[in-house]
Structure formats: C-alpha cells, structure tokens
C-alpha cells in the first residue's frame, strides 16, 4: 500500500479529506504511483502532469523521505519506505504568491 499526501486543492477535487491509499502491483515508481492515483481519481488527470506531455506541472514538487524527487525520471523507483507504506509520498504545491 502506498500513501500519497495531496495538496488541499487537489484533496477537494478528489473529494478526499486525508492521505490517499493506493495499491500498486509491480514496481513502485513515480510514474506508476501517478498512474494509479489518476486511475483511481480521474478528476486529477491534468492537474499534476500535463495531459499531452505527461510532464510534471511546473509549480508542483514530489517529495519523499526528505528528498526532492521532482526532477527524477518517471521510472525512478521510490524509496523503500514509500514502497512499503511506512512513509508517504508528498505532492506539494510550490510556495508562491497568488
């Protein structure tokens, strides 16, 4: 089981109030986690990754185990504590005015 923490606006869109729990079969990577998230919550498609390019939206970051994974390739395996559900995978909105 993978734990994913969403920023508040995406929690509202997904109609969830806390962290999201995902089951993933096979390798646990950035791409498989985001695929599973979007499959379970289709309303989030396009809000984290661009629909056409699948690139991370520029003002979002991916953190886990006190590391910034935002610039890692999509097939990067996530740290073992994330893959085993002991630590969450964070999707963070950049701190910026507005």
């Amino acid at each position: 089981m993978i734990l994913v923490v969403l920023p508040p606006h995406l929690r509202t869109l997904a109609r969830v109030s806390a962290e999201v729990q995902l089951e993933i079969e096979g390798p646990v990577t950035l791409a498989t986690v985001l695929d599973a998230l979007e499959s379970r919550y289709p309303m989030l498609r396009g809000t984290i990754r661009d629909h056409a390019t699948q690139e991370r939206r520029p003002f979002l970051r991916f953190f886990a185990c006190e590391e910034d994974l935002s610039h890692e390739p999509p097939d990067t395996p996530l740290p073992d504590p994330v893959a085993t559900g002991r630590e969450p995978f964070f999707i963070i909105g950049a701190i910026a005015g507005g």
Partner: protein
C-alpha cells in the same frame, strides 16, 4: 416572476448573485471553488439550470465544472458523485479537463508554432480556458476559447473536448503573438439568426469568422489600424480586446480594440472607427443594449500602461447612435480616487425591460444598472478582482 442571476468569476472563486426583476437587492452565494481563478462562467440559454465554469490555477491547471441545478452543486463532467470513475477495462473516464491540440493529419495544417515575444516561433502550449460559450439550442454543446489561442468544442456537456482545428490551422497562425495577458481566445459569439456562423477574437491576432459551425475560418480585420505592428493594416496581428453583436441585427458587430472602438455593418467584412468623442478609446469591455441595436456601452481606460479610468472617475460611456457620439454615465459610480480596471469579459446585459447592464471591476465591485445605464449601484462591493460577469435573465 422575472429575475436575473449574475455569474461572477474572480481571481479567487466564483460568486452567484440573484435578484428579482427590480434588480435592487442582491443575494450573494459563494465563493464556489474558493482559491481558484474562475475566468468565466456561463449558463445555457436553453436550460438556465445548466451552468459551465472554467476553474484554473497556475499550480494545478485547468478544470471544467458543470452545474445542473443553477449553481447549487457542481461536478466535473463525467465524474459525478456515484458514477463509475473508470470504464469496465479500467481506463479513466474523466476527460473533462483534457484540452489537447489537434495534430491529426486530416486537419490539413496542424500548426505547431506561433510568434513569441522575441519574434521567434514558439510551440503552442495549453494554459487555460478563458471563455465558455454554450450553444443557443443545445445545452450539451459548448465552445471554449483557450490560451494559447484555439477553439475547442464539447458535444457531451463537457465530458470531452476537441479542437476546432480549422481556426488554428487556417494559415495565419505563425503570425499570431501573445499580448500582455497571453495569447488568448477570449471572445466567442454565435449568430442568433444563423447558428453556423461563429465569431472569435484573439489577442493579439484579431477577429475571425466561421460560417460552417467552426470547421473553417477566415480573418475579418479589414479596416483595423494598429500602430504597434509593423504593418498597421495587416490581415492579422491586431490586439482585439472584445467584440459584441446586436441580437436583433447580428450582422452589426462592435469592437473594443487595444486602442479604438470599431463597428462593422457587414458581419466583420469591414470595420470603421466609432471612437468619436470618447475621452480615451483604450478599454476592454464593450456590449450592446438588449433591445436597441444602436445603443452600446464601453468603459474607457486611460491607456495600455495605466489600466484605470481617467482622472480617477469610473464612467461608463453610452452611445445611442451606434457610435461616434458618446455620453458619460456617472450616477452611482465613484467619481474620485477610483483606479480599478474593468476586464474584457466583465460586462453583460440582461433581457428585461428596461435593459439591465452589469460590470465588475478589479477592485471587487459588481455594478448594476436596472435602467439602461442611467443610474448604477453596487450589487456587491468587496469580492476578489472580477474577471468575468455574465447574466441570466430568468422568466
């Protein structure tokens, strides 16, 4: 009992204002989608309970929202509560926020670049939906004007969107360029006498017309003169801020250009300037009286670098002669120390008698006139900066 419903998009959410036919007292609901930029909301002319909203964010991108109960509840089309969120084979169904440019070969010329600020060519990149224009006859059909400029259409009430690629692909695209607000398709008009005839306006490209429901397009900018482009009378490149049509004489169009207020009597084939005695002909909004095709409204703004009214006086200007002769409407509007802007989608008229006129400001006020502009009062005063105002006339 007649009444009106104002749909107000702001920098931090949507608000819905309702009033009876007197249009004196207003109930305000919202914010809907708090914290998000709501570029535009609009109701279906044939089903007033059906509303569409463009919800957007620099962080999270574009969301389309739909209400089927006049704004009481909202959902993303295709992902309503209780509905399955995936197809039987597991594919996500929620495509309502998916705006992907058409690059299929059958569109003829799928353009991939437009002019960038530095004059180089730049790839088209989807940013947001500026404007939603529901069909005059089908509540499930909606046109969307987007940035980078293109037009999309849904025929399934917002579940899926497809580009009308003939606009971006008709040939002048590489000469389009972004204005200060981005390269946006901000205005869509449907001819009420011929629903196949559509108009679109793009900053900074100009006005365009389709006579076949959006399949093919042509520029309609003859008569425009823009000093900020190398050839001031070029076919495209003009920063058109807004166009409006007369409902009873839809071949008559009015335009607020970056500078200049313009008029066409032949469905955009030719334009002539009607700025006349306006104190400045820069501005964003323009609209037409619901019952008098020669009565039009603008809000003059000082200049392209000073986006506020002249002399700190918020004045709507009305012409009853189709342009050239303008009168200032000031009763009820602040006449000192007012330095707000009125953005291009932030004026609307209702269909009651007398005609109601409405506009919103970047200072968060929504002003209403129930007497064709003779007098004004604030329907609400302290919203976030207003991006758009639409009105539904309820009978």
């Amino acid at each position: 009992m007649s009444g009106v419903r104002l749909l107000v998009g702001t920098r931090k959410g949507a608000f819905i204002l309702t009033s009876d036919g007197k249009r004196e007292r207003w109930e305000v609901s919202g914010p809907h989608f708090a914290g998000w930029e709501i570029y535009h909301l609009k109701g279906s002319p044939v089903d007033p309970d059906r509303l569409y909203a463009s919800q957007t964010s620099g962080w999270f991108g574009q969301i389309i929202q739909r209400s089927d109960d006049s704004g009481k509840t909202w959902h993303q089309p295709g992902t309503a509560p209780g509905e399955p969120t995936t197809t039987p084979d597991g594919m996500p169904m929620g495509e309502s926020n998916k705006f992907v440019y058409d690059t299929s070969p059958d569109t003829g010329k799928p353009l991939t670049t437009h002019q960038w600020y530095d004059g180089t060519q730049h790839p088209w990149e989807f940013k947001r939906v500026w404007h939603l224009e529901p069909s005059l006859t089908d509540p499930d059909l909606v046109y969307a004007g987007i940035e980078d400029a293109a037009m999309f259409r849904t025929t399934d009430a917002g579940k899926t969107w497809h580009e009308l690629a003939g606009l971006r692909g008709h040939g002048t695209g590489p000469q389009w360029q972004p204005g200060a607000g981005g390269m946006c398709l901000h205005t869509i008009l449907i001819d009420p006498s011929d629903h196949r005839r559509l108009y679109a306006a793009i900053s900074a490209a100009g006005a365009f017309r389709s006579d076949d429901s959006g399949r093919t397009w042509k520029p309609i900018n003859r008569g425009l003169h823009s000093r900020y482009i190398p050839n001031p009378t070029a076919e495209v490149g003009h920063c058109v801020h807004r166009i409006a049509l007369s409902r009873s004489r839809p071949q008559v169009l009015y335009m607020q250009k970056h500078w200049d207020v313009m008029r066409s009597d032949d469905a955009g084939e030719t334009w002539r300037e009607i700025s006349g005695n306006l104190p400045t002909d820069f501005g964003f909004v323009i609209d037409v009286h619901a019952h008098e095709p020669e009565t039009i409204y603008v809000v003059p703004i000082k200049s392209d670098s000073e986006h506020f009214p002249l002399e700190g006086k918020l004045r709507v200007y009305r012409s009853r002669t189709g342009g050239n002769e303008w009168e200032a409407l000031t009763k009820g509007l602040p006449q000192r120390d007012c330095y707000v802007n009125v953005l291009r989608d932030a004026m609307a008229v209702d269909g009651l008698e007398p005609c109601g006129v409405y506009f919103g400001t970047t200072g968060g006020q929504v002003y209403a006139s129930a007497d064709g502009g003779d007098s004004w009062s604030a329907a609400v005063r302290d919203l976030p900066a207003v991006l758009s105002v639409e009105v539904q006339t309820l009978r």
